[in-house]
């Protein structure tokens, strides 16, 4: 009652004003302006505090420190580096180490995860339950605990003299994992180029074959052509460069090994920890992918007389991949983010070296900013690639 009587008494101008104030558009604009001003003011306040504090502590801002001499050694590196090099180069060494451990980790986690995931959807109850136990154990124990555990286990292994022999292909000792490696040969670089070329070519031919199949009504499976291109091109390069077969096989020699190449204890511990942890999640993703195809579809395919391989290739696999690939990619990203715990075992990854740089120079803001930018770009690139892939495999509806 009071509301209507007050509006009755108000002048027309006031009710117009009220109309504006109570309108949806005005209010949403008003809230947004308030929010934006609040965020800007808070940001400015924090920024001015940072500047003031840095001035008080006599820390120069900016990235000039990157060109200064680092004065620390890094045990593991993929490019040349010494204590006389710059901080920038040290960080690049760290980034490459991050990429190395994540890359190998992704391969190991994928193999482990697919094996366990397939075992988990097996019709054999024993295998299924065992795989289930593995998944529950590796998923529920924090990844840091797993990494520390493996690092202590490796440190307590016997020295090279009593090293555990792995089927003649390598040794496991407190120096890490020593494995047989092909001798370096100039053809290896070209084989890598051939692999990349094979992948690109196979994508192009797959599109071509699909269009031709659609146009002619004949059926050629692009999968075989793709596999032939991807595996065949590097093999061809290898054959043409004289098929170099030289392997460097490790042997015990005194207190150490000769031959082979050694993965450091830190690398092996980190690799085992992060890839086993991820494999538990990947196994669950694979299981859900395998279960994604309803039984009815498989029965329908059998009814129209499709052979088992065709059922797998054209009915189960496409639907499974649609379910598997997006979460699988996010597992890969989280695996590479988990590699940042390298600092607990002393593996010199980006975060570990960034931490050292931060402690030496006091440039905390800049060092952390570098880490954030690097990881953010990894995530952004991955999600762009994912979006592209999703558009490719998404259900095409009319």
């Amino acid at each position: 009652m009071s509301l209507s009587s007050s509006s009755d008494r108000g002048s027309s101008r006031r009710s117009q004003m009220a109309g504006v104030v109570y309108s949806q558009a005005f209010r949403s604009a008003f809230y947004q302006v308030v929010l934006a001003i609040f965020v800007l003011l808070a940001g400015y306040y924090l920024y001015s505090n940072v500047v003031e504090n840095l001035c008080a502590q006599n820390i120069a801002t900016g990235f000039r420190f990157l060109s200064e001499v680092s004065q620390f050694e890094i045990g593991e590196r993929l490019i040349n580096y010494s204590a006389r090099d710059s901080y920038f180069r040290a960080l690049v060494v760290g980034l490459l180490n991050t990429l190395a451990v994540s890359g190998v980790g992704i391969i190991v986690a994928t193999i482990l995860g697919f094996t366990v995931g397939i075992a988990r959807s097996s019709s054999n109850l024993l295998l299924k339950k065992l795989a289930g136990c593995y998944v529950e154990i590796v998923r529920n124990i924090p990844v840091i605990l797993q990494v520390i555990f493996w690092s202590v286990v490796i440190r307590n292994l016997p020295p090279p003299r009593g090293a555990v022999e792995l089927w003649g292909a390598g040794f496991l000792s407190n120096r890490g994992l020593t494995v047989a490696m092909p001798n370096t040969h100039p053809s290896h670089g070209w084989m890598l180029v051939a692999l990349v070329a094979g992948i690109i070519l196979s994508i192009i031919t797959a599109g071509f074959i699909r269009r031709r199949n659609d146009a002619t009504g004949k059926h050629v499976d692009s999968l075989w052509v793709s596999l032939l291109l991807i595996a065949g091109l590097p093999l061809l390069v290898w054959l043409f460069s004289g098929a170099p077969l030289g392997m460097s096989i490790p042997e015990r020699k005194g207190f150490s090994f000769s031959g082979g190449s050694t993965l450091s204890p830190e690398f092996v511990a980190l690799l085992l920890g992060i890839s086993m942890y991820a494999s538990g999640f990947i196994a669950e993703i694979v299981r859900s992918g395998i279960q994604a195809t309803p039984r009815g579809q498989i029965e329908a395919a059998k009814t129209i007389g499709l052979k088992p391989w065709y059922i797998t290739r054209y009915i189960v696999l496409p639907q499974a991949l649609r379910v598997i690939v997006p979460p699988l990619t996010s597992q890969y990203v989280s695996l590479s983010k988990n590699s940042s715990i390298a600092v607990v075992v002393g593996y010199p990854d980006l975060v570990n070296i960034g931490n050292t740089v931060m402690n030496q120079t006091g440039q905390a803001v800049e060092a952390v900013a570098i880490m954030i930018v690097v990881y953010l770009s990894i995530s952004v690139v991955t999600s762009l690639v994912m979006n592209f892939y999703n558009r490719l495999v998404a259900i095409k509806e009319r």
Binding site: L126, N140, L145, S340, V368
Partner: protein, 366 residues
């Protein structure tokens, strides 16, 4: 051919719905030659491994020992190391004669949590007073300084209670932030939406460690000179915000599952945005995504172990420190297994509970 003839020649008998232990064994273990072979190989490996584990962990194990020598002489596990070191592992550097406070704290905590997970207690009139009482009691017990309890600063807290505080604190602070972020991301206001998207995506894109580095090394720079925020609080908040960004995406999924009609019905009753959100939308959305939210709650528990990097004495850091003792160092496997078991038990209990809640939701009990 006559119809009866076709039936006679081609019709199969209906499948026998056989049951019983032999049929069950046949179906699951011995359905074909390959399956039988697989079963035998896997069973042989499993039995050997289990027998080895049984010997190591139970039959040959040393449970109580006066010193590490008894363990070195035995072939099995040395559980005596847990008996010997359980107090520094579980309670860290907290003053030794005050450990009873931590035991009491854990008892209060577990009672409160178990009560909160029981549907009979899901009433505002029970949950809110219960949690206020529990948090007050735990704060008094941990800090002391009143009722004749000696004061213990946060820098001396450690072990399982610290893990519990980090975990609970990050969930309690994180859930409201998550709800706000999820609402922000679904908001019709472009500024709120943009800010939420940038915040969520940039935190989800970086590892937790970088956020902890920000909390420990950079956050003090943000504050005016002379002002300080407790390190434990800063770290709890940063794990909370990290948790909130993941949880916000789950809640967004729940919000998207609410049909338009619910919003329209609320609007036709002239409910405001906040009335609609708090009374109509959120209760349904949170119920839908409860199982998925549990996954991130378990992840938050595992994430507390990241504090080892910035030197907080949680249960893992405490164990690592205890295992530096040269006398007992070689029994590290037992110590880490003990800690792993604690995480495993809590994690499995939570996920089993989530599965149960899922079935309650399915039958419409909640």
């Amino acid at each position: 051919m006559a119809r009866s003839e076709i039936l006679e020649h081609h019709a199969e008998l209906p499948p026998v719905l056989a049951s019983g232990p032999w049929r069950w064994m046949h179906r699951h273990f011995f359905s074909s030659v390959g399956q039988t072979f697989l079963t035998i190989v896997v069973a042989a490996i499993t039995i050997r491994t289990l027998w080895f584990l049984l010997q190591w962990a139970v039959l040959d194990a040393v449970w109580v020992a006066s010193g590490p020598q008894a363990c070195r002489d035995a072939a099995g596990a040395c559980w005596a190391v847990i008996v010997e070191k359980h107090r520094p592992i579980l309670f860290g550097m907290y003053p030794y004669d005050q450990h009873w406070r931590l035991v009491l704290m854990i008892v209060i905590y577990l009672t409160t949590v178990i009560a909160s997970l029981t549907p009979a207690c899901w009433k505002r009139s029970i949950l809110i007073p219960m949690w206020i009482a529990a948090v007050t009691a735990i704060t008094v017990l941990m800090f002391g300084g009143v009722f004749g309890l000696p004061y213990v600063p946060t820098s001396e807290w450690g072990g399982l209670p610290l893990t519990i505080i980090l975990f609970t604190g990050s969930v309690l602070f994180g859930m409201p932030i998550a709800v706000l972020l999820a609402l922000g991301r679904r908001s019709p206001l472009p500024v709120a939406r943009g800010l939420s998207v940038v915040f969520i995506e940039s935190l989800r894109g970086v590892p937790l460690i970088t956020i902890l580095f920000v909390a420990v090394n950079i956050f003090p720079l943000f504050l005016p000179a002379g002002m300080e925020v407790n390190k434990l609080l800063r770290i709890t908040l940063s794990i909370a915000v990290f948790f909130a960004c993941y949880q916000a995406e789950v809640i967004r999924g729940g919000l998207q599952a609410i049909p338009r009609g619910q919003y329209e019905a609320a609007a036709s009753l002239n409910m405001t945005y906040w009335q609609t959100t708090l009374r109509i939308i959120l209760p349904q959305a949170l119920r839908i995504c409860l199982p998925a939210m549990t996954n991130h709650i378990i992840a938050a528990m595992k994430n507390t172990s990241f504090v080892i990097i910035i030197g907080l004495f949680d249960i893992l850091t405490a164990t690592t420190a205890v295992m530096q003792d040269p006398l007992w160092r070689q029994f590290y496997i037992e110590a880490y297994l003990f800690v792993a078991l604690i995480y495993l038990v809590f994690g499995l209990a939570l996920s089993m509970y989530a599965r149960r809640v899922e079935s309650w939701v399915a039958v419409g009990r909640i």
